[in-house]
């Protein structure tokens, strides 16, 4: 799960990013509208959190701009401008939800879940692979209904592979599923995750195997 946060208050952005991270959500952050379109073009987010007052303009203007590129990514507007009239304005422009500041992170999470539930692409609320069932929204994995607890990062790798099982997943795609562009890694951390994950999957009898496609990425196969 990956979202884009468009917000110019650095402190709020960092707090949000940390909080979302604990729910297994990877957050990319930009402070400017100018970058936002570019980012959505490259990355394909599951949702977008949008501030209204931004240094380079009114955030709402981003909504039609995004829709024009054919994307219907859910958008939640976060703003201090919370009069009924302003809410209506935002929703009519195509926002999926509208949340006044200040807000509780838990409220945001709940709304995010609600919005994603409606989104058809993520009807994969449960992913099954081999004997596993993965619930990425609640961060849980079971093997034959027995819960299997995995470290967060390994779980993210697993989910990314299982979501596209039987297909190769680019190495870069996997990295994107686990790290945002601020957390750079300069080692084989991903390989290490894969290695440890494989071991755990065997121990648990998960009924899947992770194959390597040299120079390209990885591939999950059911057995």
């Amino acid at each position: 799960m990956r979202i884009l946060l468009i917000e110019d208050e650095r402190e709020l952005a960092e707090a949000l990013s940390a909080a979302l991270g604990k729910h297994g959500i990877v957050t990319d952050h930009t402070m400017q509208l100018a970058d936002a379109v570019e980012l959505t073009r490259q990355n394909g987010y599951d949702a977008i959190l949008l501030d209204r007052r931004l240094p380079d303009g009114e955030g709402l203007s981003f909504i039609p701009e995004l829709r024009r590129t054919g994307k219907d990514t859910p958008i939640i507007v976060l703003t201090a401008r919370n009069e009924p009239k302003e809410r209506i304005e935002g929703l009519d422009l195509g926002a999926d939800d509208y949340l006044g500041k200040p807000f509780l992170v838990e409220e945001l999470m709940a709304r995010l879940r609600a919005v994603l539930r409606r989104s058809p692409e993520l009807a994969e609320l449960k992913i099954t692979a081999g004997r596993m069932v993965i619930d990425p929204l609640h961060l849980s994995v079971t093997v034959d209904a027995v819960p299997l607890d995995l470290p967060r990062r390994e779980l993210l790798v697993l989910a990314a592979l299982a979501r596209r099982k039987e297909k190769t997943v680019l190495r870069s795609t996997l990295e994107a599923a686990v790290y945002n562009y601020e957390e750079e890694i300069q080692s084989n951390a991903l390989d290490a995750h894969i290695s440890r994950l494989r071991k755990r999957l065997i121990d648990a009898g998960a009924g899947v195997a992770i194959h390597n496609i040299r120079g390209v990425g990885y591939l999950m196969k059911e057995e």
Copy 2:
């Protein structure tokens, strides 16, 4: 157990909230209809207590509004308008019960229990886990039929975990089960509850264990 109280008399609201709290019910409170729909969307209450005379309108109008969103949460109307004709009006609009002010808290509790008993979602009137039987409506726990008395908050944590035994429960879900949105906690109070609860469960030989899922939440397993 979590309910929403829609009531504009602050004093009554606080008294009720306190009284319900002693019965292990977490109460969210709003004085306005305007917020109520919003709150139900995020929180999924087990029941709603509704006043008729509210600053922004007739409380009853909330009932069809809620039903239209597909929720059939039980609603109890609390009001000074207690003529037979008014009662009928309320019930016909879809309220599950109608209680004239003033009333005894005990009567309210009894009606609440009655209403909840009918609710299919809470057919889990008794939760069993290991050697325990938990009755969240009457706030009791027994181990092999021997009563075990637990502090209120620990009991709430226990019930929340037992209700979803063998599954991970998000940390935030547990917090929501124990605290309403006005009581914020800025410490590891939850961890402390877990710790003390664990000790008591061992002493009592409850036949369950609470495991931690690092960065995610907790998980109750039977032994």
